[in-house]
Symmetry: C2
Subunit: 248 residues, 2 copies
């Protein structure tokens, strides 16, 4: 059973994407939406809050809400799973495990995963037949068996882990920056050494806050762009300084 406010949000979103409310135009008032959907004002407020969070709609006290954009943004699943993002957008993808081994956890990994062994996997992933992503993932010991059971050319690790052991990636932190390609990355991706790569380092946990994996993903320049919509109210994105070890 989907919540009422989610259905109202979906309906509004569809209207916006279909062009019923063009960019820059006003949304109906809460009161009107409430009577139209036969719901309380609070419920309508929850619905539009979803759209505001998606960056589709802007809101300020006293004035009617306005439409800011008309492009769908798919949020977490897409950000987390390369395969789910690619599939949702109709791209052909491939994947191949290059190497996979268990090893003792390093000090920072112990702090994160709780000690013991970890499973380190190096994958090469392709989009439309071209290699675009080198993925170096470290899994906590408790998921290692499930990961080792996967096929070497498994397209969607996220989905496979959900289907085999019911694992859900629920929270993540992502660090995005640019790095030059090392010799190994360059060979795998078919680019020159030192050429730019877009790096996404991420740490993921389950619903309960239990750490699952940390990963260092490097995209070939030009193959993928990250997109963020934000409003002045709230959003979870910040800059961070790099090493800042300048000078000689």
């Amino acid at each position: 059973m989907v919540a009422r406010y989610e259905r109202i949000a979906a309906e509004l979103r569809d209207d916006i994407l279909a062009g019923a409310y063009p960019v820059g135009s006003q949304l109906p008032s809460e009161a009107e939406l409430a009577t139209r959907h036969r719901a309380a004002r609070g419920t309508v407020r929850q619905a539009v809050a979803v759209l505001v969070a998606e960056g589709l709609v802007g809101s300020r006290q006293g004035a009617r809400r306005i439409v800011l954009g008309n492009a769908r943004s798919q949020s977490f699943a897409e950000l987390h799973s390369f395969a789910q993002w690619a599939r949702a957008n109709g791209y052909r993808i491939g994947g191949q495990v290059i190497s996979q081994r268990r090893r003792a956890a390093t000090a920072p990994e112990s702090a994160r995963f709780g000690g013991g062994e970890v499973l380190e996997v190096l994958r090469l992933r392709s989009l439309e037949g071209e290699p675009v992503l080198v993925e170096r993932t470290v899994y906590a010991e408790w998921v290692a068996p499930a990961v080792e059971a996967l096929a070497a050319d498994c397209a969607s690790v996220t989905e496979a882990l959900y289907e085999s052991v019911g694992l859900i990636f629920a929270y993540g932190e992502h660090l995005i920056d640019a790095v030059p390609a090392g010799a190994g990355d360059a060979r795998l991706l078919g680019v020159r050494r030192g050429s730019p790569l877009l790096r996404q380092r991420r740490v993921t946990t389950t619903h309960e806050g239990r750490p699952v994996e940390s990963s260092d993903d490097r995209y070939r320049a030009g193959s993928v762009t990250f997109s963020i919509r934000n409003s002045i109210g709230a959003n979870p994105l910040t800059r961070r300084a790099g090493d800042l070890r300048f000078g000689p």
Copy 2:
């Protein structure tokens, strides 16, 4: 007057950052927080919703909320304004206008800003004395006079525009990818041509949805990292495919 729920959120956030609720521990229940703050449950829910949106706290039906992280994230202002981010983190920054000229709007710029002229500004910005950012910004005609009135070494354009004409940047869309440094960028940033840069393209609008500027910012690799916290519920970040013009 700050809203009640914001004060409760701030109090909870301070407690988390101070270590009163360590990472992985449980937050008090809504009922307890409500009696403790002498507020209704709805108000408390709004407060914790803020923390959930910040990625600080995880929430799922039936179970107590848990603390996911203890690092502050400053959201929009920081993402938008290099100066505000740097100052909030205690970095010394500098800025210098390299060139500035009015020109006719190109076709896509016309579509965005509504035709006429635009003002194109090239700025070089430094962090801790080292050049780290080349910023190519195109302003809509209606803000051009205010921008032209700024000092060439103005540290915070965002703040200066707020103080001079009350302009507030309220919504933005950001595209993040990696590109090789061109000859000009390389010279300005003091890096080799072709070395990796982190590029952030952004489009910003006011409260009313009126476009203000679009910008192409290129950070020297290693100087800045973008950080995103997200939960499975909602967040405004997605991947996007690049040109995908592979092959010969």
